[in-house]
Amino acid sequence: MNVIPFPRGGGNSNPKRVLIVEDESLMALLLEHLLQELGYEVVGICASIHDALSFIDKEFFDLAILDINLRGIESYEVADKLDDHRVPFIFSTGYDVVKLLKPYREYPTLQKPYEMQSLKSELEKLPFFQKKKILT
C-alpha cells in the first residue's frame, strides 16, 4: 500500500472525505489542492487499481475521483467496488467519453484538464448531496 495520508482541510469542521485514484502524480497533487480549496478532506491518493481496491476495503470515505486509465488498465473494477460500497464517484479522463464501456457512460465524467468550477459543480451533483446538504 502506497497511500499518503494528508492533514484535514481547514475551515470546515466536518469536511467530506474524498479518495483520489490517479496514477499521474502531478494530476493527483492538483486534485488534492483543488479539493482542499473546496473544503474537502483528501483521505488518500491511490495510483494503482490494486491500491485502490484495498483502500476501499480498509477506509471510510464519502466520495471518490477515479481516473479511468491506471497504468494502461481501465479502472472499471474500482468503479464496481465503489458502487458496491455505495460511494458516489466522478470519472476523470484524458480520453473522450465514448471510450468508456457502455454501462459506465452514465457516471459523471470530468475531462482533463479541468478547472475548479467544473470540479465543484460535478461534486455538488453527486447523489450524496441530494440527501444531505453539507456544503454551503
Partner: protein, 467 residues
C-alpha cells in the same frame, strides 16, 4: 404453312403458265423475283450431283438464282478459314444423302466478310436419274455478328470472374445458398467451390451477423436499393476473420423477378487493420496531449502556491515545463520504449551538467524504463537537482553530486543521490511542491520508497522502485 404454300403455288402456277408465251412478261416476272429474294436476303441454290466424279467438289455444277457455273466459283468466294470445314460438311451430306445445314463466311469485294447459311435437302429425281442438294443460301451476317459479340463479351466476363484472384465473386440463390464461387472466393475464404456450392452463404458471415440479422439486412438492402454496401468481417474456412469490402446486388430475371444475388468482395483486412491502428494512434495522441496539458495546469497551479511572486513563479514554472518537455523529447527519440535510466538522468541534469561536469558524476548498470517510470523519475531528478543548485551542493564552488544506482536480484531499482559540500545541511526539501511531487511520484505512481537524509556530510536521497 404447307397448305398455304400449296394453295398459293397452284394459283401462281396456273397464272404463270399463260406468261410463258410473253417474253417481256417473263423478264419482268424474273426481275420481281430477284427483288423479292434480295429483300428476303435469301437466294435459291442448287448443287447438281449427277455429273460428279466423286472426287473434287470444284467441278460440280452450281445454280444460284438465275445464274449457273461450277461450284468452284462459289467455293472461291468462301473465306479461306472456313473453306475446308464447308467442303467437309458438304461431302458428308452428299455421301450420306442427308440434308445439309452449314454456315460459312463469304469474302466480299470490299474486303469484308459476311456470314451465310446454306440449308438444303438432298433430293433424288428417279425419273431423270439425277440427284442434287436443293435449298436456300441465307444472309445471316447481322444475327451472327450480334451473337458473336455476345459470346465474346460473355467469354470475357467469364474469364474475368474466373481468373479474379483478388475478388471473391459469388452468387447466391433465393434460398440463400451459394450457387457459384470463383477462385478469388476460394483464395480469400479458404473454402473450395466444391465444398461450399449448395451450402448456406451465411457460413462466411460472422456468428454476430448471423445472430443480429446482418446477413438478412444486407440481402434486404440489396433488394431495396439495387445494391448494398458490404463492409463487414467475414469468416474464413479455418475460423479466422477477414474484413470484406464490396457490394451485394440482386440478380434479376428478364421479367424483373429476383432470382438471387451477386456478391463481390475484396479482402481489405490489412487496410482495415491499418485504419484501426491509426484510430488508436490518434486516440492515444489525443489522450497524451490532454494529459500533458493537465500536467502543465498542475505545475502552474501548484508552483503558484510556493512562488506567489511573478518573477519567482515564471522561473520555477518554466524550469519544470522544460524538464517535462525534455523527458518527452527523450521518449520520442526512443519511440516511447527502451529508455535508459542514464539518459533520463542526463536529460534532467543537463541544465546544470555543462558548467558542473566535473562535480556531477553518475553511474550504474544499464536499466530500461517504461515511459511512465521515465517521466516520474525525470520530474524527481529535476526537483532534486533544482534544489541542489539553489540550496545544496551545486550552490557552492566545491560541492559534489554523485548519483549511483543498482538493480537488485528482485528487479528493484535503487538510486542514491548523494550531495557533498561544506554547507550545513538544512531541510529545504521538507516543504513545498518539490517534496510532495517526489513523494507522490516515487511512492504513489511508481509504488516505491523514498527517504531523505539530512546528516552532516551532505544531503542524501534514497529511492527504491520496483521495475
Amino acid at each position: 404453312m404447307n397448305k398455304i404454300f400449296t394453295a398459293i403455288k397452284e394459283q401462281a402456277v396456273s397464272d404463270s403458265i399463260e406468261m410463258f408465251d410473253d417474253i417481256d412478261a417473263l423478264k419482268s416476272q424474273a426481275k420481281r423475283m430477284l427483288r423479292m429474294m434480295e429483300s428476303a436476303q435469301m437466294m435459291p441454290m442448287e448443287i447438281k450431283l449427277d455429273d460428279w466424279d466423286g472426287k473434287s467438289l470444284d467441278q460440280l455444277s452450281f445454280l444460284f438464282g438465275f445464274g449457273q457455273g461450277t461450284l468452284s466459283m462459289f467455293l472461291d468466294c468462301v473465306a479461306s478459314d472456313d473453306r475446308a470445314q464447308l467442303e467437309a460438311d458438304l461431302l458428308q451430306s452428299i455421301q450420306s444423302q442427308k440434308p445439309c445445314d452449314v454456315k460459312c463466311r463469304l469474302q466480299l469485294n470490299d474486303g469484308t466478310t459476311s456470314w451465310v447459311r446454306y440449308q438444303a435437302d438432298y433430293t433424288i429425281s428417279t425419273t431423270k436419274n439425277s440427284a442434287s442438294l436443293y435449298g436456300f443460301l441465307t444472309d445471316i451476317s447481322d444475327s451472327t455478328s450480334m451473337q458473336e459479340a455476345f459470346y465474346e463479351a460473355e467469354e470475357k466476363y467469364r474469364l474475368i470472374v474466373e481468373s479474379s484472384t483478388g475478388f471473391a465473386i459469388l452468387t447466391i440463390n433465393l434460398d440463400g445458398n451459394v450457387s457459384s464461387w470463383n477462385v478469388g472466393a476460394e483464395r480469400i475464404t479458404g473454402w473450395k467451390a466444391d465444398d461450399i456450392i449448395g451450402k448456406s452463404s451465411s457460413l462466411f458471415f460472422t456468428p454476430e451477423d448471423r445472430e443480429n440479422g446482418g446477413f438478412e439486412e444486407e440481402l434486404k438492402n440489396a433488394l431495396k436499393h439495387g445494391m448494398a454496401e458490404d463492409e463487414r468481417w467475414h469468416m474464413r474456412a479455418d475460423g479466422s476473420r477477414f474484413w470484406g469490402s464490396g457490394l451485394m446486388m440482386p440478380l434479376k430475371e428478364k421479367d424483373g423477378r429476383n432470382k438471387g444475388f451477386l456478391k463481390i468482395v475484396r479482402d481489405q483486412t490489412e487496410k482495415r487493420q491499418e485504419e484501426t491502428r491509426r484510430e488508436l494512434l490518434v486516440g492515444e495522441l489525443n489522450h497524451r496531449v490532454k494529459n500533458t496539458l493537465a500536467s502543465v495546469q498542475s505545475i502552474a497551479q501548484l508552483t503558484l502556491l510556493s512562488k506567489p511572486e511573478p518573477a519567482d513563479f515564471v522561473e520555477s514554472f518554466t524550469a519544470r515545463i522544460i524538464a517535462l518537455s525534455r523527458a518527452h523529447s527523450l521518449l520520442t527519440r526512443k519511440s516511447w520504449k527502451n529508455v535508459q535510466l542514464s539518459d533520463v538522468l542526463a536529460e534532467a541534469l543537463s541544465p546544470f551538467h555543462d558548467q558542473n561536469h566535473l562535480r556531477i558524476q553518475f553511474k550504474g548498470e544499464s536499466v530500461v524504463l517504461t515511459p511512465q517510470q521515465a517521466i516520474a523519475l525525470n520530474m524527481t531528478f529535476h526537483e532534486l537537482v533544482t534544489n541542489a543548485a539553489k540550496y545544496g551542493a551545486l550552490s557552492v564552488k566545491d560541492g559534489q553530486l554523485d548519483v549511483l544506482w543498482h538493480l537488485t536480484d528482485e528487479n528493484r531499482l535503487t538510486i542514491q543521490w548523494h550531495e557533498r559540500s561544506d554547507l550545513p545541511v538544512t531541510q529545504p526539501l521538507n516543504k513545498g511542491f518539490g517534496t510532495r511531487l517526489i513523494q507522490q511520484s516515487i511512492t504513489g505512481e511508481l509504488s516505491g520508497k523514498v527517504e531523505f537524509d539530512f546528516n552532516h556530510s551532505g544531503f542524501r536521497c534514497f529511492i527504491e522502485v520496483p521495475l
